[in-house]
């Protein structure tokens, strides 16, 4: 299941759905949050007060559904969930939740990892960070391309 929404979500309530099926041996979940800084080196960090996530309504849902379908083709999943927010998000707020459930832990882990890696390079979202120095569109990172590429097929976003 996929959901794209402005409002916050409750990871606990989302997780509760995954526990009811007796065939599930492992649930893997990833939760992405707004950090309160950008930049890696401590002396180059800038405080981030908030960010705004723009998206392409319609295409976002279509791409997320395609990514979920691909995960279900590759791994034997009992359940899969992607929830992604858009709009203005303050530091510390939840951005994205990805969760998978399978009979086996390895399938749960790999499929969850795959979902977030592909989502990062395929789902049409764009972040603008609000800092004391002004607003900056976040640039896509080569490292995200590499992380997505290890799952076999290059992300079509970058071909």
């Amino acid at each position: 299941m996929i959901r794209v929404q402005r409002e916050d979500f409750d990871p606990a309530a989302e997780l509760a759905r995954f526990s009811g099926n007796g065939a599930v041996g492992g649930v893997c979940m990833f939760l992405g949050l707004v950090r309160d800084y950008v930049g890696e080196a401590t002396d180059r960090r800038q405080d981030v007060s908030a960010m705004t996530l723009e998206h392409y309504p319609g295409m976002t849902e279509k791409q997320l559904e395609a990514i979920e379908a691909e995960a279900r083709r590759r791994w034997p999943l009992e359940d899969a969930l992607i929830v992604h927010r858009y709009g203005r998000l303050e530091a510390g707020e939840r951005i994205v939740l990805v969760a998978t459930a399978s009979a086996h832990r390895e399938a749960a882990f790999q499929s969850c990892h795959f979902l977030i890696d592909w989502l990062k390079t395929k789902a049409p979202f764009w972040k603008v960070e609000h800092t004391a120095q002004g607003d900056t569109w976040v640039e896509a990172r080569d490292s995200d391309d590499q992380l997505a590429a290890r799952w076999g097929q290059p992300a079509p976003d970058r071909r």
């Binding site: 996530l53 979202f125 764009w126 896509a140």
Partner: protein, 83 residues
């Protein structure tokens, strides 16, 4: 034909969505881009470096050689940064 712009492309073009009627010779994304760049300095700037731009036709990623036709929804945007 509906053309959409997102993120900094939207800011440069000055609008997020416009309805256009390209001349008859425009048959693929590359041709559409060349024509859109003639519409305004903002369009020209947004589409100046296509290495920085991704294209979707009817909400699927496509390359510059993909066909476009009346009624299509064509979107231009930077590499995505969600998640």
């Amino acid at each position: 034909m509906k053309v959409l712009y997102f993120a900094w492309l939207r800011a440069k073009v000055g609008t997020g969505e416009e309805t256009v009627v390209p001349p008859e010779g425009v048959a693929d994304v590359a041709g559409l881009v060349a024509w859109l760049k003639t519409l305004s300095p903002g369009h020209a700037e947004a589409l100046a470096d296509l290495k920085l731009v991704r294209v979707a036709v009817n909400q699927d990623y496509v390359g510059l050689d993909a066909p476009v036709k009346p009624g299509d929804e064509v979107a231009f945007f930077p590499p995505v940064t969600g998640g």
